[in-house]
């Protein structure tokens, strides 16, 4: 156990270094959500006039969208890194050491946590500067960061799963557009009860991304909404556990060492 923790520490260190040393990974994950946020906040400000819209500041409403989009970049970060390891043979290098499988997965996710913290800090700072409210106060900030990092971990674990199944960075990249569809078919831009189109509303009701966004959003707009938080944390945790379990199985298939 002690030895495994040492391994996790070393792999985590590497994972963080890989994030920090790849500006091409960090910059888009910070910029794109912010650009989209700026576009939405200026273009959809009028939506706050709709009767029943939960806040009169669209940026307060939309900030969770940025967090969600940023979290999806975790798939790219963690997945591509692991896929590169497989393709480059670094995975074999690690296999030839006494490395435990779970230590490898845990280590690979460390970079996700760091990237998630950087993202949360940037989005929140810019959001607050741009006039967003934070109804739940300073403690809410901590809960928001925790939830967004948990969502990042879940999506990072999905990236690991695809990397292990496919062994290909392209496959990981190929998943990314699917996430965007999930994102846009959620309550990212409008509250679910204000979506007039029936099929669109039905999809958003079934889309787990809606609830993750709403969990984060509730902290900005409503203060402490136990149900929204429970759904957000719960679904993210379920996704994380399921993805990790599937990734562990995929890892066993790939770690064929005797």
């Amino acid at each position: 156990m002690g030895a495994s923790l040492t391994q996790v520490r070393h792999l985590a260190g590497r994972s963080v270094m890989r994030v920090v040393r790849q500006p091409a990974l960090i910059v888009p994950s910070l910029l794109f959500p912010l650009i989209l946020l700026a576009v939405n906040a200026s273009g959809l400000e009028a939506a706050t006039e709709i009767p029943g819209f939960p806040t009169d500041s669209y940026i307060t409403f939309a900030l969770a969208f940025a967090f969600m989009q940023g979290a999806m970049f975790a798939t790219l970060g963690a997945g591509q890194s692991l896929a590169e390891d497989v393709q480059r043979g670094f995975f074999n290098r690690l296999q030839l050491t006494p490395l435990r499988g779970w230590a490898m997965l845990a280590g690979q996710l460390a970079g996700v946590v760091v990237l998630g913290l950087v993202q949360a800090t940037v989005y929140l700072s810019i959001g607050l500067l741009a006039g967003s409210e934070m109804e739940s106060g300073p403690l809410g900030v901590l809960v928001l960061v925790a939830l967004s990092v948990l969502i990042s971990l879940a999506f990072g674990a999905l990236g690991l799963l695809v990397a292990l199944r496919s062994g290909s960075g392209e496959a990981v990249q190929g998943m990314f557009p699917l996430f965007f569809i999930l994102l846009f078919l959620s309550s990212a831009s409008l509250p679910r009860d204000l979506i007039a189109n029936d099929w669109f509303q039905a999809i958003t009701n079934w889309n787990p991304v809606s609830y993750m966004i709403e969990g984060m959003r509730s902290l900005f707009i409503d203060g402490w909404d136990a149900e929204a938080l429970a759904l957000g944390f719960g679904l993210a945790a379920v996704l994380l556990v399921a993805a990790l379990a599937a990734a562990s199985i995929a890892l066993k298939g790939r770690m064929v060492r005797t």
Binding site: T6, Q7, R14, G89, L94, L96, P98, V256, T258
Partner: protein
């Protein structure tokens, strides 16, 4: 200082590495424990090893071999002969379809972790992370093996120095040449002081200087530390210069095995290759040469025979040609090479060609002749 019981346990084994005054493990492997077989403490015993892939023929088709402790064993064969597949099986990365093997006295299927603990491996791709420096690679590799921090740093610096990367130790690997990457890979393979070292085509794609430098380091390791080395190569020269014993593999089967000298002696006699000054004389020249031995393959425009009675006949050949009035354009005496051994065993030739796939500049065009095995179909 923080030295836990666990740390010292891990480190104690690795301490005898380095300055060579610790007893080399090879001696311990054979003598002290009274083990007779080569598969004792740091040898390799392979019996009937087979690996089949779903598509295609058997990649490895019943290989038997034995590597003695402290020996450098050269596994020579063309691309696709089954060298890497064999290495992957012996290093526990690939389960065999049939047959068995022990490495450092441990069964490669049943005792994977024990095998991995005893071996250092540098695989063909020299898998490194371009974003990390040499020193960071060392730290990571040592961490995976559970080597304590202070010891990891000491060993890391020592190994980096040993492979001549001290000046580049803090630079990211992305900027390294092919030779530097291979040397770092070698150093990484040594971080846990393994008793056996597997090197899969360690010099493929390297220029001549880098190749020679790596040979020197491998030879020193084997000599000073008593590390057993299992090395695959497609370069005859490499097997000839570096290996104590050579196994020639072709299409998954071991076709010859022995010291380079013994293998060449088995083929025995040298060949003489001659080309006439006047191309029209070629037939007559071949006729004269034919009196001295059996014809063998020659360059275009030339004829060659394997001498029946050895080098002493050279003078007689020159006299005979002179007597026939054939002016000699070129006359070469070739001592038997592993190339000839390969030809004799497989019926196919080795290609005499420059190294065209060098990563850092490739062939330097200095006329250095390099025998590379012909690509196997």
């Amino acid at each position: 200082m923080l030295i836990s019981a666990n740390d010292t346990g891990v480190v104690s084994r690795s301490l005898d590495f380095g300055d060579g005054d610790g007893a080399p493990s090879a001696a311990a492997g054979t003598g002290r424990n009274g083990r007779v077989r080569g598969g004792g403490d740091n040898g390799i015993e392979v019996s009937g090893l087979v690996r089949e892939f779903k598509k295609g023929p058997r990649a490895v088709d019943g290989v038997d071999l034995s590597v003695a402790p402290g020996e450098i064993y050269g596994f020579l064969g063309p691309n696709g002969a089954g060298k890497s597949t064999t290495v992957h099986m012996l290093t526990t990365l690939l389960p065999p379809t049939a047959g068995s093997a022990t490495v450092a006295g441990h069964d490669i299927v049943k005792e994977g972790p024990a095998v991995r603990d005893a071996i250092g491996v540098a695989l063909q791709e020299a898998a490194l992370d371009p974003l990390l420096s040499a020193r960071e690679h060392m730290r990571l590799q040592a961490g995976m093996h559970g080597i304590a921090k202070a010891e990891a740093r000491r060993r890391g610096d020592e190994l980096i120095d040993r492979v001549g990367l001290a000046d580049a130790a803090d630079r990211r690997v992305a900027g390294y040449s092919g030779g530097m990457k291979r040397r770092l890979d070698l150093a990484l393979a040594l971080v846990h002081a393994p008793r056996l070292l597997f090197l899969d085509e360690p010099t493929t794609g390297l220029d001549v200087q880098s190749r020679t430098a790596l040979w020197e380091q491998v030879a020193n390791l084997a000599a000073e530390q008593g590390v057993t080395v299992f090395l695959t190569t497609q370069y005859l020269e490499e097997a000839d210069n570096l290996a104590d014993r050579v196994g020639i593999i072709d299409r998954g089967r071991l076709v010859a095995e022995g010291t380079p000298e013994a293998l060449k002696a088995e083929i025995g006699r040298p060949t003489v290759e001659a080309a006439p000054a006047e191309p029209a004389d070629r037939e007559r020249l071949a006729g004269v040469l034919g009196r001295f031995g059996a014809p063998t393959q020659a360059a275009p425009g030339a004829s060659a025979v394997r001498l029946r009675d050895g080098v002493d006949e050279l003078a007689a050949i020159v006299r005979a040609l002179d007597a026939e009035g054939i002016r000699i354009g070129q006359l070469d005496l070739h001592a038997p090479s592993l190339d000839d051994v390969f030809l004799a065993k497989t019926g196919r030739r080795l290609e005499g060609a420059g190294d065209g796939d060098g990563e850092d500049g490739g062939n330097d065009g200095d006329g250095h002749r390099e025998a590379v095995l012909a690509e196997a179909g």
